[in-house]
């Protein structure tokens, strides 16, 4: 209250008019709004106490001043004057403005201009009423910010949000949920019911029931279907809002897509399972090898005791043949469980793949096309080439078998993938290299259903008839690839085909064949299978031997006669089409060659003429599949003997 009013209050001889003015001023001064009367020249003619207080001035210092003086010419001309002019045309004007004062910072105001007097027809003044709406404004602003913040959460987080009505009718979904549910518009989803997305509606009903106690619930992983019907798994939590009478108002749900996480978990679990089986199988194989050593030892003793003419002699040979087969089996198990010693050299995967494809082409039925549109590449990997051959041969043979009935196409490709791709594909194994070679083998065969797909690397897991295939093929492949530090993944669709992805770490080591004592040993390698023998010789050359390849056993005589110097060793590797190991052993033993010889026979053939081995010029007999380590050891033993 100002001094002028106080002096009036003390005046005893107040006329009715001055009393009325006094009351009016009292009301005006006690209003929380800033009130002023402005004339057509934009001059303040009357201000209330609130106005004076806000501007920290006396009414005397404001009355008579123009608005431009008080508020500054810029504010006046741009903001105040246009509104005042509009008001003088006869309408009430309302606007919001903010001013920053040094005392109280930024304040927000709502300003109302009313024409005055209203009824005379000639507007001479206007009443300006200004409310401080700063608190309201700040609250509003806070609310908007909060909402935007929430919107950002809702939009940016990869968590799907949904609000639905009491019956599950979808009211609102966020962008993430649209993505999870593979639907391109919210409107489309709003025409559906949450129930439609549950793989089992029974679970939906159960969730609704559990939510009805008004408490938030997590339901863990739930199998769902997308808008388009694809099966997915989401982690779901929900909250049911109830009104005062206990009726459901709405239900909110959060969805996290855990299909990917589940896939990784399953992959890890499978890897662990394989490790466990491997350890178990490896242990059994170890004990079994002890038993086999005993059997083969006594058989050898028997062989010595029994005269060659006795019919029992053949029987003992058969025991020894069975031991060979069993040995090959335990060896496969040990390869799967990564417990065999390996001889590794730097090998170009491209070369091995090319030979494998060449070999398979030569034996595959004509109904099966093998496409390999890859160009020569430098793809160095530290591995046993003969093992890599087994990997590719196995995968391509499987592909052929899956297309046996209808025929089809196998596509083999090879390429590099870098670090980013390794991470994207989330390879399980410890990353051992910056770069990986990716060999892809794709078929258009029967494919496999997911339950089968999960188990294909388990030993003795086979879909083939009993007796057809050992069920160890893919286990061995897995063992070999893991041992190299690679990984093998597979995707498959029933009736469409399967794709195997073999990742092999690139080795940039500079390879030098180990120095051999004395002269480089020369090995004559005879085999009807030129592809496999090329891989073998590739492997042996990297370990320091000089290799001569002959593809026809009958060429043997000529090829040796042609050369001035005899080889240090002859290796005969039998394949199904050529002279059997037994026949070769007899022929070779009766020839006048004095060069030591190693026989490699097919896994299912064995050798009956076991007694020709070791005792004579034939030093060793190996059964396929033979690893580089085995053949190298055999060579060393044979040459040294």
């Amino acid at each position: 209250m100002n001094e002028e009013n106080n002096s009036q209050f003390q005046d005893q001889s107040l006329s009715y008019l001055s009393k009325e003015k006094y009351y009016n001023d009292l009301i005006l001064d006690n209003s929380r709004s800033m009130i002023s009367i402005i004339n057509r020249n934009y001059i303040y003619e009357k201000v209330n106490a609130t106005f004076c207080n806000a501007l920290r001035g006396l009414s005397g210092s404001i009355i008579g001043k123009s608005l431009g003086d008080i508020w500054g010419n810029e504010t006046f001309n741009n903001l105040i004057k246009p509104n005042i002019d509009k008001c003088f045309q006869g309408c009430t004007v309302r606007y919001e403005a903010s001013f920053t004062t040094p005392q109280s910072g930024k304040r927000y105001f709502e300003v109302i201009f009313r024409p005055f007097p209203v009824d005379s027809g000639v507007i001479t003044h206007l009443v300006a009423e200004t409310f401080d709406i700063t608190d309201l404004k700040l609250k509003e602003k806070f609310a908007i910010e909060k909402e935007e913040e929430f919107k950002r959460f809702e939009t940016n987080l990869p968590v799907g949000f949904m609000r639905c009505g009491p019956d599950g009718q979808i009211i609102h979904v966020n962008r993430a949920l649209l993505m999870i549910m593979d639907c391109d518009s919210e409107d489309r989803m709003r025409t559906t019911n949450l129930r439609d997305y549950y793989a089992e509606t029974g679970i939906f009903d159960l969730h609704m029931e559990r939510l009805s106690d008004n408490k938030p619930k997590s339901f863990g992983r739930v199998p769902l279907k997308t808008y388009k019907g694809t099966e997915i798994v989401c982690r779901i939590s929900g909250y049911m809002a109830l009104n005062e009478s206990g009726k459901t108002e709405y239900i909110d749900f959060a969805f996290e897509d855990s299909s990917h996480e589940l896939m990784l978990e399953t992959r890890l679990l499978e890897a662990q399972k394989l490790e466990t089986i491997g350890a178990l199988a490896g242990g059994i194989a170890h004990d079994f090898n002890n038993i086999l050593a005993t059997i083969s030892g006594y058989s050898e003793l028997l062989m010595e005791d029994i005269p060659e003419s006795s019919p029992s002699s053949g029987n003992v040979s058969k025991i020894m043949m069975a031991v060979s087969k069993a040995r090959s089996l335990t060896n496969q198990i040990l390869t799967f469980s990564r417990q065999v010693e390996q001889e590794k050299v730097i090998v170009n995967v491209y070369d091995v793949l090319k030979e494998t494809v060449g070999f398979v082409r030569s034996v595959a039925p004509s109904s099966i096309k093998i496409k390999s549109n890859f160009r020569k590449k430098d793809a160095p990997v530290l591995a046993d080439p003969t093992q890599l051959f087994r990997v590719f041969l196995n995968l391509i043979t499987n592909a052929i078998q899956s297309m046996e009935e209808k025929g089809g196409t196998i596509t083999v490709s090879i390429g590099y993938i870098g670090e980013k791709e390794i991470i994207r594909r989330e390879l399980n194994r410890n990353i051992v290299a910056d770069e990986y070679i990716l060999v892809t083998i794709k078929d258009t065969g029967k494919g496999m259903d997911p339950s089968l797909l999960r188990r294909i690397f388990e030993p003795f897991f086979t879909t083939r008839a009993v007796g057809k295939g050992s069920g160890l093929g893919l286990s061995v492949v897995h063992g070999i690839v893991s041992e190299i530090g690679g990984e093998i993944l597979v995707s498959s669709e029933q009736e469409k085909g399967s794709v195997f992805y073999v990742y092999l770490p690139v080795s940039r080591e500079i390879w030098k064949a180990p120095e051999m004592k004395g002269q480089r040993k020369k090995i004559l390698f005879i085999s009807g299978n030129k592809y496999e023998s090329r891989i073998m010789s590739l492997a042996l050359e990297s370990t320091g031997y000089e290799m001569i390849l002959v593809y026809n056993p009958t060429d043997l005589l000529n090829s040796v006669a042609d050369r001035k110097s005899l080889p240090d060793l002859i290796i005969y590797m039998c394949d199904s089409s050529a002279v059997s190991c037994d026949d070769f052993a007899v022929i070779y033993n009766n020839s006048d060659f004095k060069v030591p010889c190693i026989l490699i026979s097919e896994a299912d053939q064995g050798i009956l003429e076991e007694k020709l081995v070791i005792s004579g010029i034939i030093r060793q007999h190996l059964v396929k599949p033979v690893s580089l380590k085995e053949i190298k050891d055999a060579i060393q033993l044979s040459i040294n003997q």
Binding site: G282, N289, N290, I291, A293, S296, G297, E300, I614, S615
Partner: protein, 125 residues
């Protein structure tokens, strides 16, 4: 005849080796595990040792090292069946530790004996 110590935890296999070696008139000493082999080692009558590599109570690698220490001229043949040990290369290790020959099970006993005769420089019949 030279004495051969057979260190092998599998009784049947050890017995087989003993029978085979006896046939060639070798004197055979036996040990069931590495610990026994080391404890009861008789350098004066042992010319060669055949040892398994993976055994309970002191593995074969230790046997190779200890016995070599006790008798540097001792010949050593190591045998291994793979498994249990994990992906290590036990046979290669054995070779590095001085085994004269290594065999992985199952092996040909005749082949092994031929080699043993070579190692002991015995005229073959």
């Amino acid at each position: 005849m030279p004495g051969i110590l057979v260190v092998e935890d599998d009784n049947d296999l050890r017995e087989m080796l003993k029978v085979s070696l006896n046939r060639k008139r070798f004197t055979v000493l036996e040990a069931e595990n590495g610990k026994d082999a080391i404890a009861h080692f008789k350098p004066s009558v042992t010319d060669l040792v055949i040892t398994d590599l993976i055994m309970p109570e002191e593995d074969g690698l230790k046997v190779i090292m200890k016995l070599r220490e006790m008798k540097p001229s001792l010949k050593i043949v190591a045998i291994s069946g793979g498994g249990k040990a994990g992906p290590g290369s036990y046979l290669n290790l054995a070779k590095a530790l001085g085994a004269d020959e290594v065999y992985s099970k199952p092996f040909s006993v005749n082949e092994m004996i031929t080699r043993i005769e070579e190692l002991l420089e015995i005229e073959q019949d």
